[in-house]
């Protein structure tokens, strides 16, 4: 599964995209797996209320299922316009 990071999430994780082998059933389970990896992940994901998530390029919630999903993206609240 491809995991993407944007804006300060990209800066805190230190890369824009990575491929992750996971059996996580939901976004939240994926977040827990990532947090367990290294401090920079734990810190980047420390307050998920400040984060947004898109699954296969659709905005969704952290309890969204990951079955059949190819791409998950994490980023701060958007500031377009």
């Amino acid at each position: 599964m491809d995991v993407l990071y944007f804006a300060w999430m990209r800066e805190r994780i230190g890369l824009p995209r990575e491929t992750v082998e996971t059996t996580a059933g939901t976004v939240m389970e994926l977040v827990e797996e990532l947090k367990a990896r290294e401090d920079r992940y734990a810190m980047a994901f420390s307050d998920i209320s400040a984060l947004r998530v898109a699954v296969d390029q659709e905005l969704t919630d952290f309890d969204a299922p990951l079955t059949g999903v190819r791409e998950v993206a994490f980023f701060p609240p958007m500031t377009g316009g």
Partner: protein, 147 residues
């Protein structure tokens, strides 16, 4: 409907003319243009806009399609730049065409409110003192409750 995400400048006048012309069944065209604004205390050197290629176009198309259906628009246009912009440059524009002015105005405000908080763009402001990501405003999130 036209949705354009690009790092190239666009000409708001040409886009407005192209959008407004040749609509004999439409009486009202509203446009909104967003311009990079200088900061009063700490002059802005540049604004950098990051986006999520692929999702951006899909999100903008969905927002525009929803607006067209809800307000029976004759047409809608969304243009948004990414990359590095300096004060005075146009960041983005939307345009709506409807039979009546109220629909054109409301649909344009809807496009702007959704584009602000639901399209994957992130702005960073660069000044002489350093650079900072622009923080999303609670009032922008609150604006969505209107719709």
């Amino acid at each position: 409907m036209r949705v354009l995400v690009s790092d190239a400048p666009f000409d708001v006048g040409e886009e407005t003319n192209a959008f407004a012309k040749g609509h004999k069944d439409i009486g009202a065209v509203v446009t909104f243009t967003g311009i990079v604004r200088d900061l009063p205390d700490d002059p802005l050197v540049a604004m950098e806009i990051e986006h999520y290629p692929g999702m951006t176009e899909a999100a903008l198309s969905k927002i525009a399609t929803t607006a067209i259906a809800r307000w029976s628009l004759g047409d809608a246009l969304v243009i948004h730049r990414h990359g590095r912009l300096v004060p005075g440059e146009m960041i983005m524009m939307v345009a709506t065409a409807a039979r009546h002015r109220r629909d054109a105005f409301e649909a344009a405000e809807y496009l702007m409110d959704y584009l602000k908080s639901r399209a994957p763009f992130w702005k960073r402001e660069i000044t002489a003192k350093g650079s900072d990501w622009v923080t999303a405003k609670a009032e922008d999130e609150d604006a969505l409750t209107r719709w």
